[in-house]
């Protein structure tokens, strides 16, 4: 079923969204439309023994960016992940989760979970400064943000049981297998080093690889590169 967002201009931007900055723009537009202060999207996959929130945060509109979440203690991270993993439907918390409170100042938090076709889950945390909201407005926000989360899941390759690899991801893995560094690959492909690292990160996530060597080994084993 393909439903459209309630705002046509935001819907058009969502349909054009390709990378995370595009999705940041769309989530920002939606947050502005409904009057939320900030947001963060977490992907509940690859959660290891000592989870780091900055590594599972796909998008965030935080004063110091998603990198600031690296400062959250593992105990608080674990508590938040347990809370997010247990969500089955949207929920409103009377105050922000302790792990996020220093980074998302707000009166209360709205949590919107979405399960992708792969079984992985995305959870959107919205910082809200309003004590109450009309039910219809909450329903509209949930509807719109769910559409955006579903498109984000597709863009992140979470819409198929077997991970799909973009051409650029394969090229970057091939050059990594040749022993090239990110900056060398950036020069070869005419990209930024940031984007090369993002491709490496997404390929690692799709193959559940732990480092570059593991990534190359797994990529050869499953036939992505030869």
């Amino acid at each position: 079923m393909n439903l459209d967002l309630t705002d046509e201009s935001i819907d058009a931007e969502l349909n054009r969204a390709i990378n995370r900055t595009d999705f940041f723009r769309v989530f920002r537009m939606l947050a502005d439309r409904y009057g939320f202060l900030s947001f963060a999207v977490f992907e509940l996959t690859g959660v290891r023994v000592e989870p780091r929130l900055d590594r599972i945060c796909l998008l965030a509109d935080l004063p110091r960016g998603r990198g600031s979440l690296a400062n959250v203690s593992s105990e608080e991270s674990q508590a938040l992940l347990g809370q997010l993993a247990g969500l089955r439907r949207p929920a409103i918390l009377p105050e922000p989760p302790a792990a996020l409170a220093p980074y998302m100042p707000c009166r209360r938090a709205n949590l919107i979970p979405m399960t992708a076709l792969t079984g992985e889950r995305l959870v959107l945390v919205l910082a809200d400064d309003l004590a109450t909201r009309p039910e219809a407005e909450v329903a509209g926000a949930i509807f719109d943000f769910l559409q955006a989360l579903e498109k984000l899941a597709v863009a992140e390759g979470l819409d198929a049981e077997t991970p799909r690899f973009r051409r650029r991801e394969i090229e970057v893995v091939e050059w990594t297998a040749e022993g090239k560094t990110s900056s060398e690959i950036a020069l070869i492909l005419g990209l930024s080093e940031y984007t090369v690292n993002e491709y490496i990160g997404s390929a690692m996530r799709k193959l559940d690889a732990l480092n570059r060597i593991h990534l190359v080994t797994k990529a050869i084993r499953v036939g992505i590169i030869s």
Binding site: R55, P63, L191, S192, T195, E198, I200
Partner: protein, 143 residues
């Protein structure tokens, strides 16, 4: 709400390439509201001047206007910047980013696109936070 985080401001060097000098004035005004970063913007109005600047010093981010005479659009300008061995982030800013050819921005070496109307303190803060963070070798320390 400001960016009120009690930490030292991060220094960012931005090169703005735009044939309209008023864009420089506008972005300088918007940057005053970005409390999380100490941003120094160099402004040039042609790609050639931009390439000259790149030869002289390094920049954390380049913001480039889509239409930059005598070039057609980013599909011509961004590859020329990459050819000059710049591997930092490049963002395309334009009054209208809805044309179909914008969908190929990543193929031409750009990292993001943003309409000029969208460029405000929060967007700039996101860009500075995201594109200047160290995203290299994720998970390597766990092995």
């Amino acid at each position: 709400m400001g960016d009120g985080v009690d930490e030292q401001q991060k220094r960012i060097g931005v090169l703005l390439i735009d044939d309209d000098p008023t864009e420089y004035e506008i972005i300088q005004y918007k940057l005053k509201k970005v409390e999380s970063h100490d941003v120094a913007v160099d402004f040039v109005s042609t790609l050639d001047d931009g390439l000259q600047k790149l030869a002289e010093r390094s920049y954390d981010i380049i913001l480039i206007d889509n239409m930059l005479p005598p070039h057609n659009d980013f599909r011509q300008t961004v590859p020329l910047i990459r050819k000059a061995r710049y591997i930092g982030p490049i963002g395309i800013i334009s009054s209208d980013i809805s044309s179909n050819y914008f969908q190929s921005f990543s193929e031409f070496g750009a990292d993001f696109r943003m309409s000029k109307q969208e460029v405000d303190a929060r967007s700039l803060r996101y860009i500075f936070n995201e594109f200047t963070r160290d995203n290299s070798l994720p998970f390597d320390d766990e092995v």
